[in-house]
């Protein structure tokens, strides 16, 4: 039996949970989906359409708002009672926050941020290392259950099969001691309204560490103007204040899918790639021929961007 732990907030399902369902389905065992919350929710109902054995609604009033302590208690109890062979998650910020602690509480092996899995005995998980420059096949050791998280986008949400009949939803009362929950969460908020909606841009020029200093942003801006593109950046550029945070692409910024994405001096760390790999045509200009950005690029130029970009601006104006 494979468990998939889905993610919901205020009853709304995180779309990335369907990816975990799709990942689990490739492993050949019956799949049970677990939704953690204060009671049945629209998320539970939505997931019952999946081609799975059943949906467990793991319920306690202390699970209404996410805290790692309450989630770990509730899921450790359920997993110990039901003994699945494998428990699958999507590698979201929330999963990063509690899954390692859950594995430690259960004293069971965990592999994180996987990009694929080959079913077998044992299952062989694929994950990236060294900033995406190499991949590794890893196996988990020790007694079941094992835990695995899959990178966002590693599986397609629409690959998760639907069944003709809704799966049974089983409510399970979670064992949570509210006094043992030490985190006291406040309501989530947004810092500022996003002024630029980069998701609507047809063309984007994005800059990374390779731009080297703030004064060179002007060069990227000239290229963006010549292409009729919006200017965006990877996280380090926005952290340095060279471009506003609202122009950040990646897991902590915006997700975009333009017709053209031109990456200047961007190495292609996964935190950036998850935000732009849906682009139709990707161009990478980078000095490092081994930069992971070339893995997903349609066109690649290995060169100094400070030489190529002025030439590009000139060529576009011809």
């Amino acid at each position: 039996m494979t468990f998939v732990v889905a993610e919901q907030k205020d009853g709304a399902l995180n779309r990335a949970s369907w990816e975990a369902v799709a990942a689990a389905a490739t492993l050949g065992s019956p799949v049970t989906v677990v939704v953690v919350g204060s009671g049945p929710s629209p998320a539970t109902k939505e997931l019952s359409a999946a081609d799975v054995t059943e949906v467990i609604s793991l319920e306690h009033e202390a699970l209404g708002v996410y805290t790692p302590d309450a989630y770990v208690q509730a899921l450790a109890g359920l997993i110990a009672a039901e003994s699945p062979a494998l428990v699958v998650f999507t590698h979201t910020y929330q999963a990063r926050d509690f899954v390692p602690r859950l594995a430690a509480r259960l004293d069971r092996a965990l592999v994180t941020d996987c990009t694929g899995v080959k079913a077998g005995a044992p299952h062989v998980f694929t994950r990236q290392m060294f900033q995406g420059k190499v991949a590794a096949d890893v196996t988990l050791e020790g007694p079941a259950p094992h835990l695995a998280t899959f990178q966002i986008g590693a599986f397609r949400a629409d690959a998760a099969k639907k069944a003709s009949q809704l799966a049974n939803v089983r409510s399970v009362a979670a064992a949570v001691d509210p006094d043992a929950v030490r985190q006291r969460p406040e309501a989530p908020f947004r810092e500022a309204k996003q002024a630029v909606d980069l998701s609507q841009a047809e063309r984007i020029v994005a800059v990374g560490r390779g731009i080297k200093s703030q004064e060179h942003i002007a060069l990227a801006r000239q290229l963006a103007e010549a292409l009729g593109a919006e200017l965006a950046a990877s996280r380090p550029i926005c952290d340095s204040g060279w471009l506003p945070m609202e122009r950040q692409i990646g897991s902590s910024g915006q997700t975009v899918a333009p017709k053209l994405y031109l990456a200047l001096g961007i190495s292609g760390a996964i935190q950036h790639v998850v935000g732009m790999k849906g682009a139709r045509t990707i161009v990478a200009i980078n000095k490092d021929p081994d930069a992971p950005i070339f893995e997903i690029a349609d066109y690649g130029i290995t060169a100094d961007l400070f030489e190529v970009v002025p030439a590009l601006i000139a060529a576009l104006k011809e």
């Binding site: 990063r96 602690r101 190499v134 985190q183 045509t281 997903i296 066109y299 060529a315």
Partner: protein
């Protein structure tokens, strides 16, 4: 306040990764090493908290003998003393073995606050901090942007967590606690000459760590990933490459007019 900061030594970003003959790890005998960048932000946050609230910053690293380099670097930036959780098995250990080693090193320290980076630039597991919190029996929170400390009879933290898609959330918890720090939240200080000289006199205590009986994770093979896409590599002089690319974007990809 006693603050422990866990740091890892990783190969430099510039080092060209080469795979070892057994294809189980990288050939890092000739690598250059540096402080894992996400951990540098945790160290900086620890130093700032000490400046605000007083106390000590103890920096801890798990690994073979070479990791004393990053401990010395952290001492030069201003940490008060260092602990080396020493074991050759820690060079490519899984997150549980690393967390075990750090917990062993911290066993007698009883820090009020433990800080780690978000994840490492080598394995990138994003497990160690959270597993360590469980082993130490203290609450944790991850991807932290801002920390406020409440002292007094019930010492605690109020921290700003980053959620996905531009959302944030404040979370309160009692001390002692462990936090993993979001990269980029502060401006890093670098070691001054004075700091480097002072670091030579600071203590690095070594704690021997025995390998776990059985690892939790085995790396079966390491390889260069297969390309998901056929990339057309454009060569030539900058002017030639630029012309070729513009033509391709106009006529082949049809994404510019």
């Amino acid at each position: 306040m006693k603050i422990a900061v866990c740091v890892k030594q990783v190969v430099t970003r510039e080092w060209q990764v080469r795979i070892n003959d057994a294809k189980t790890w990288v050939r890092d005998q000739d690598a250059t090493w540096e402080l894992n960048e996400p951990d540098a932000f945790a160290l900086e946050e620890g130093l700032r908290l000490r400046e605000q609230h007083g106390g000590d910053v103890v920096v801890v690293s798990a690994g073979p003998a070479r990791v004393t380099q990053v401990l010395r670097e952290a001492l030069a930036r201003g940490a008060d003393r260092a602990i080396h959780a020493a074991g050759d098995h820690l060079a490519s250990a899984d997150g549980f073995a690393t967390a075990d080693a750090l917990a062993t090193a911290l066993a007698d320290e009883k820090p009020d606050l433990v800080l780690t980076g978000l994840q490492s630039d080598d394995q990138g597991l994003a497990q160690v901090g959270v597993v360590l919190a469980e082993k130490l029996g203290i609450p944790h929170s991850t991807i932290i942007m801002e920390i406020t400390v409440q002292s007094g009879s019930a010492p605690g933290l109020r921290v700003k967590r980053e959620l996905e898609g531009g959302w944030f959330q404040w979370m309160a918890m009692p001390l002692p606690a462990l936090l993993t720090i979001q990269s980029g939240i502060n401006q890093l200080r670098y070691a001054t000459l004075k700091g480097i000289m002072a670091a030579k006199k600071k203590e690095i205590r070594s704690v021997a760590v025995t390998p776990p009986e059985k690892p939790r994770q085995t790396i079966r093979s390491v390889y260069v990933p297969e390309k998901a896409k056929a990339t057309r590599r454009i060569s030539g002089s900058p002017a030639e490459a630029a012309k070729t690319l513009v033509a391709a974007l106009r006529d082949e990809a049809r994404v510019i007019s």
